[in-house]
């Protein structure tokens, strides 16, 4: 269902979509039954002359069943939904599959910046690649992200990946994603972060493995930093907030 409105571009997108459909079927059934029951009763027992009201307290056994049986069925449905919800949550948020690569995602008022280890695969070395607003990743590669914030609470969201995680100042939050579809997708900030909140957009560019390797080579190392199309390497950690604002 979500697929009609949005592309799915990560391995866990479909598990969230399937959970959504499971819940939609279960609660949709209950909603239709309950609304139907209500409107049916309103019609059946509309006021008519000469038909007295029945005196019912709710303690009658044969009538109480109409409450107690749905009551237990609701609990059963809750358990089914919870099993699905916790399974999906566990696989996305509680376990970290072994990483093929790591990226650092930094939120600040009002831009996303990214740090990728260069060809040496080690973060915080001279050949690291820093970009602003654009995250380049390779398809079918499991990434760990280290999420940081320089100032206030932000939220790193890539709808096509079904990924969302708040970035908190003072903490590094680690998570993962594995893109499985080449393309360019939106990055949003989904936590109110000040007057530029709506402008805090970014793009994640999922490339084929070869294209990504070529991009890494082109852009790594301080020597070529100045040649990049994206305003990389401008991201000096010591830069002040005012300077970083677009």
């Amino acid at each position: 269902m979500l697929e009609r409105y949005f592309t799915a571009a990560s391995t866990y997108a479909h598990s969230i979509d399937h959970l959504f459909i499971l819940i939609a079927v279960i609660v949709g059934f209950w909603l239709i039954v309950a609304e139907g029951m209500m409107f049916g009763l309103v019609f059946k027992f509309r006021a008519r002359d000469g038909r007295p009201t029945q005196y019912i307290t709710g303690d009658e056994k044969h009538l109480k069943r109409w409450i107690s049986i749905p009551h237990f069925l609701v609990i059963v449905c809750d358990i089914v939904i919870l099993a699905g919800a916790i399974t999906v949550w566990y696989n996305i948020k509680q376990v970290l599959p072994a990483a093929d690569a790591t990226v650092r995602v930094i939120g600040q008022q009002w831009a996303w910046s990214f740090q990728l280890p260069g060809p040496d695969g080690v973060m915080d070395t001279a050949d690291d690649i820093r970009t602003v607003g654009e995250l380049h990743v390779a398809v079918n590669t499991t990434y760990h992200f280290e999420l940081l914030s320089r100032d206030v609470v932000h939220s790193f969201a890539v709808p096509a990946f079904r990924l969302k995680q708040d970035a908190l100042p003072g903490r590094t939050i680690t998570g993962w994603f594995r893109p499985n579809r080449v393309g360019t997708y939106d990055i949003q900030c989904t936590q109110m972060c000040g007057i530029g909140h709506a402008l805090m957009a970014g793009r994640v560019i999922v490339e084929t493995q070869q294209a990504h390797a070529a991009w890494l080579l082109r852009n790594s190392g301080p020597a070529v930093a100045g040649l990049q199309s994206s305003p990389a390497s401008a991201m000096d950690p010591a830069m002040t907030l005012a300077e970083a604002r677009p």
Partner: protein, 558 residues
């Protein structure tokens, strides 16, 4: 109250502005709440216009800049919850109805009651004054997460942020005073013969709401003091660079914030219970079970708060626990709704305006309830958190609570409050003109939410996927439906004012109800009851076999 203590008629000021009469204080809360609802509705109009027709001139406002947009959504949320839902549902209906339904002459602490409204009014003035200060009103969302809210350098509204916090804190003081008063009155001032299970469900619900409020607000007050210190004295409670923790505020806020949902839900459920019983001429199906489910909801509401924080950076293992408790709360809420539907069975249902509102409450609230399951399930919440799906979900709970149930209560008790009937035709026009557009506003927003629209964004032009025309059509549809809904509110305002003088005279008991407030003249005189009543039975004795009348008032001996 006997005739020997009749005073000289007090002047206008003492009678209407400095009164200790619970009915006058109820009217003060009601009219203040309605005025705030107009302000909150106006803000909704402005920011929906910006979303429906981006960056165009909004008639009656002007151009909506990003900073102003943030302030508008922040103030809309704060006002509708703290300055509309709470004063109208709890303070206005509670003040008016608690003494009348319990059969006593006034509140236990009339002067505390007066103080409660005065502090509430002060909180309104403090909030509105933030529109006049440098930087304008606070725009950091009604949840006010630090470090954004803690520092003027981040939120650019240093004075507005502090005034917002002060206003919220003052509002809480007002409701603490009111809550003490309501609870003490209900425990001590019931008419002779009114046992605990003879109390109308609405009064039970208001008391439960007050108990939940009083038990949950402490942590938030503590948080508010710390945030105030962070803002004004440069302390670092929520500042990670100085050992503080921004997540602490989120826990304190939502520990209050989620029970708050039930603080306003329960009185709304109570209003609906009264109306359904009267207009289907039926005893509430399982009176005690309704109360037990309400207690269960109240208790569980304290252990679900972190479902607002699944992706906020809390320990991910905690999400599982809060998913379980959140889905667990669906059990008593569902059961309560089922009991209300069951009450219709075997009745003789009259579709007068109050009943239409009450039925609409159930029909719409169920949609709000089931869509909450998507968000309470941690797995789907990863995607839907902070999207318009969430916005649509909680408006499907809060609009039934703060708008539909309030209209149900107002149309039902208007004859008692003012002695005259509202016009029924205008009432039905207003009903359909509100409920149909309400659905047209929010059903499209479920879809834009599923398509990834996140909230608090003044313009989606930055996002390639969100700026597709198909999504913009949905946003525009929603905005136009809002304009229709808002314009129909003038029908209600006209009906309200016109009926004050020209409505049909109501008499003491126009709806043929059983509860005590309908035994006194409309409007009730100072002191309420000429002779304090004695109660002989429960509140919903309709269609009792062997009686000529189909209702058996609480105060008539067997």
């Amino acid at each position: 109250m006997s005739t020997e203590v009749q005073h000289a008629e007090p002047g206008f000021f003492r009678k209407y502005l400095w009164s200790t009469d619970h009915k006058i204080i109820a009217m003060q809360y009601l009219f203040t709440g309605m005025a705030m609802a107009m302000i909150g509705g106006y803000f909704a109009y402005v920011f929906r216009m910006q979303l429906g027709f981006p960056n165009q001139y909004v008639p009656g406002y002007g151009i909506v800049t990003p900073g102003r947009y943030n302030a508008l959504v922040t103030m809309h949320g704060s006002i509708m919850i703290f300055w509309v839902a709470m004063p109208v549902l709890i303070a206005a209906f509670g003040n008016f109805l608690i003494p009348l339904m319990l059969g006593c002459d006034d509140m236990a602490f009339p002067r505390i009651n007066r103080l409660s409204y005065q502090i509430f009014l002060l909180s309104v003035l403090v909030l509105l004054s933030s529109f006049l200060v440098k930087g304008g009103p606070f725009g950091g969302a009604w949840t006010s997460y630090p470090p954004l809210s803690a520092s003027g350098a981040y939120n650019l509204t240093p004075i507005g942020a502090t005034l917002w916090l002060l206003a919220v804190a003052l509002e809480f003081v007002a409701f603490l005073l009111g809550g003490i008063n309501f609870t003490v009155t209900t425990m001590n001032s019931r008419a002779p013969g009114m046992k605990m299970y003879d109390i109308p469900i609405l009064i039970w619900m208001i008391i439960l709401a007050n108990v939940i409020f009083m038990a949950s607000v402490g942590p938030l007050i503590a948080g508010a003091v710390m945030l105030l210190f962070d803002q004004t004295m440069s302390t670092g409670f929520f500042d990670p660079t100085r050992g503080g923790d921004p997540l602490l505020w989120q826990h304190l806020f939502w520990f209050f914030g989620h029970p708050e949902v039930y603080v306003v839900l329960l009185p709304a459920m109570g209003i609906v219970a009264e109306i359904i019983a009267v207009f289907s001429r039926k005893k509430i199906f399982g009176y005690k079970t309704v109360l037990y489910t309400a207690w269960a909801v109240g208790f569980l509401s304290f252990v679900v708060w972190a479902h607002h924080q699944f992706v906020a950076g809390i320990d991910p293992r905690m999400a599982n626990i809060f998913s379980v408790t959140t889905l667990l709360i669906s059990v008593p809420v569902t059961e309560m709704v089922f009991l209300y539907i069951a009450t219709l069975y075997g009745g003789s249902i009259h579709l007068d305006t109050p009943m239409l509102w009450a039925l609409a409450f159930i029909a719409e609230f169920m949609i709000g309830g089931v869509t909450g399951i998507f968000l309470g399930s941690s797995g789907t919440d990863i995607y839907l958190h902070d999207t318009y799906f969430l916005i649509a979900h909680f408006h499907y709970t809060f609009v039934p609570i703060a708008i539909i149930a309030v209209f149900a209560g107002l149309t039902y008790w208007y004859p008692k409050m003012f002695g005259r009937m509202l016009n029924e035709t205008l009432g039905k026009i207003h009903f359909w003109g509100t409920v149909i557009p309400f659905n047209v506003i929010f059903i499209p927003l479920f879809i834009t939410g599923i398509a990834g629209d996140q909230r608090r964004v003044y313009d989606y032009a930055q996002f390639a996927e969100q700026s597709r025309p198909a999504l913009q059509h949905l946003r525009t549809t929603s905005t136009i439906a809002l304009l229709v809904m808002l314009s129909f509110q003038f029908v209600f305002l006209f009906n309200f004012v016109w009926s004050l003088r020209s409505g049909k005279s109501a008499g003491a008991n126009p709806w043929r109800s059983t509860t005590l407030e309908w035994t006194v003249p409309s409007p009730p005189p100072h002191g309420n009851f000429a002779v304090l009543p004695t109660v002989y039975r429960g509140p919903y004795e309709y269609g009792v076999p062997g009686r000529a009348d189909d209702f058996f008032p609480q105060d008539i001996p067997d």
